[in-house]
């Protein structure tokens, strides 16, 4: 199917989850490439990722299958195909045949056959629909193989072969073209900032020439949870920070990274970096978004090719520092709370202690679910999975398991620090008739902020 067709599909702004309006019409092949060319493209881009790290992981697997036991998708549907390492089979096959130290033998004696178009088509579902790159499989792997990173790499080849699930491709292409996967163009963003300023009577600087802090938002927040903008503004104003939103660099989500287009990932990251450099920001605050944290905090400098000239913090890290240093004070919240750790911020991001410090300052009774913190059980919506309708039934099953864990804590209030997780809880919660709601940690802090009249 052509690119033109896929980009014509409008995104769905009404539903609780980020996706397209016509999931029934599938365009899971992009571009007009022939089958051989698709395979060739996939191989070229797989090869780009065959560096030392990927190689030693692919050499190390002993086929023990333990990774299945940690995967939320396998737990929801124990089909052997969903075993995490199996999701990488064509990537591994290409490595062994084309790039590994023994590739000469594998190729000459045809011990590993060539990757075929049929394989790649079959693996689209395994690499995109059934992996959020939550990294729980690495915890359980006796070889400590970082399968999530390898899945991210394998997606590069899939993207360039034109084999991305059409909803994910559509929102990604839209993000590259318009600056947002959800239609939050610079103009829409500016309008919504103005709306929230009026609605909440909070000053929110936009496009300041100079500021110490550049604040980013995710399109999910801009379009679905705009109160996040006001909450952030309220807190930063209270702290007396020199900060701004900026229409040239405001969108933190990076669907280039999720779908597997490195150039688009770089384009999206560079908008932020250039804006931060332009206004002389010392700090870039990332919103409540898991993969945005990966994209800028851990991959941003690698996209730029040099260390970032500013500090990057997830909003939960920024707030934890603020409450710890006394820069803000918060009222006590007399409730029991269960916290859902976003995988990309906690286990794979390292900011696990931050939300706990904030919740402690809020004086809540924290009730940790059975598998929590770095061992957190994924909600099933990350990595672009939430956009893909084919993945819905499995995503709802995973959420069913997640809700059981959260409900078992008996907590009165559920809180997280990722708007993508939050929209998954909203969408799946409605489907599963959950009697609770997932709340934003940022908004909880803003609601309970002790406002000092001095500022």
């Amino acid at each position: 199917m052509s690119d033109a067709t896929t980009t014509d599909i409008p995104v769905d702004l009404e539903s609780k989850r980020l996706t397209v309006t016509r999931p029934d019409i599938r365009f899971d092949k992009q571009g007009e490439l022939g089958d051989d060319e698709r395979v060739q493209k996939a191989m070229q881009h797989f090869a780009k990722d065959f560096g030392y790290i990927a190689a030693n992981y692919m050499e190390a697997c002993v086929h023990c299958g333990a990774c299945a036991q940690a995967c939320p998708f396998y737990e929801a549907n124990p089909d052997p195909k969903l075993t995490p390492i199996w999701k990488l089979e064509p990537f591994k096959q290409a490595y062994k045949r084309e790039a590994g130290p023994l590739s000469f033998f594998y190729k000459t004696l045809n011990l590993k056959s060539k990757v075929t178009i049929e394989q790649l088509e079959e693996w689209q579902e395994l690499l995109y629909d059934t992996c959020t790159m939550c990294g729980r499989c690495t915890l359980v792997c006796p070889m400590s193989i970082d399968i999530a990173t390898l899945v991210g790499m394998a997606r590069h080849g899939m993207f360039h072969a034109g084999l991305v699930p059409h909803e994910l491709y559509t929102v990604t292409e839209k993000a590259e073209r318009e600056g947002s996967p959800l239609g939050a163009t610079p103009k829409v963003f500016a309008d919504r900032v103005e709306w929230m300023e009026d609605e909440h009577e909070v000053d929110m600087p936009l496009d300041a020439d100079k500021a110490d802090v550049l604040v980013l938002m995710s399109s999910i927040e801009i379009q679905k949870y705009p109160e996040s903008m006001a909450a952030t503004g309220k807190i930063l104003n209270q702290m007396g920070k020199s900060w701004t939103f900026h229409t040239e660099g405001y969108e933190a989500t990076n669907f280039g990274m999720l779908s597997g287009n490195t150039q688009w990932q770089k384009d999206m990251t560079m908008k932020i970096i250039s804006t931060a450099e332009k206004i002389g920001a010392e700090l870039v605050i990332l919103p409540e978004c898991g993969h945005a944290y990966q994209a800028l905090r851990w991959q941003g400098a690698n996209m730029l090719g040099r260390p970032l000239p500013f500090k990057v913090q997830h909003i939960s890290e920024f707030l934890a520092e603020a409450v710890e240093s006394g820069a803000i004070r918060v009222n006590k919240v007399d409730k029991s709370v269960a916290f859902h750790d976003p995988c990309q911020v906690s286990r794979r991001g390292g900011a696990t202690p931050a939300p706990r410090k904030i919740l402690e300052a809020l004086g809540v009774e924290l009730r940790e679910p059975e598998s929590t913190g770095n061992l957190n059980f994924c909600c099933g919506g990350g990595g672009g999975v939430i956009t893909i309708h084919r993945a819905d039934s499995l995503r709802y099953k995973i959420m069913g398991n997640k809700l059981e864990q959260l409900d078992a804590t008996g907590a009165e209030m559920m809180v997280t620090s990722c708007s993508n997780c939050r929209q998954n809880f909203d969408d799946s919660g409605e489907k599963l008739h959950w009697d609770k709601q997932m709340n934003s940690l940022l908004e909880l802090v803003a609601e309970n902020l002790v406002e000092d009249t001095k500022s």
Partner: protein, 217 residues
Amino acid sequence: MTLLDFARGPAMQFAIFIFVFGIVFRLVGVWAMRHKRDLSEPRQPSAWKGGIHGLIQHAWPYKPFRDKLMTDYVIGYVIHLGLLFVIFFYKPHILFFQDIFGFGWPALPNGVITAISIITIGALVIALVKRLTDPVRRLISNFDDYFTWFVTTLPFVTGLATAGNVWWHYETGLAIHLLSVWLLLIYFPFGKLMHAFWFGVSRYTTGSRFARRGGMA
């Protein structure tokens, strides 16, 4: 030249050459691949400490996974420790190493080694049955998995037969045992037996990468 002469002479030399050269070739081959420097600002210095921690941490499953994986870990440890004790603490093996290195070390009693060998073969059989019957393992297994099992189990079986003197001709039996070990050594660099090295490389890599970030792997 008898079969035993062949096993003790050219076959052994060839096997050791392939074993050593093959291991070096494969390790260096991977090491020589492109290294990308991570330019992100580390959360904490001394990532190498995390690498060392990773080496140890993954030797035993984290608590939430213990129920599901305990049997597999126990079987794995029985096989690995069985290999260790039988290879390095059986008197005739120590004499063999003494010839090469010029020094020896105390041996375990023969009866203990026999018992360990039988237990190890039992664990290897259980591992194979699990590989064949567990749908996940059956799907992800390939020739390497089964051939590795074969070349690992064979020296135990031939060794037990030699120690128990059940061959029709002792010297031929000993030669067969030696040849089965050389087969293991020759195959070693080509298949997953290399995990004897990769486990360290992979665990260290992940441990140090995640020490930069915080989080857990």
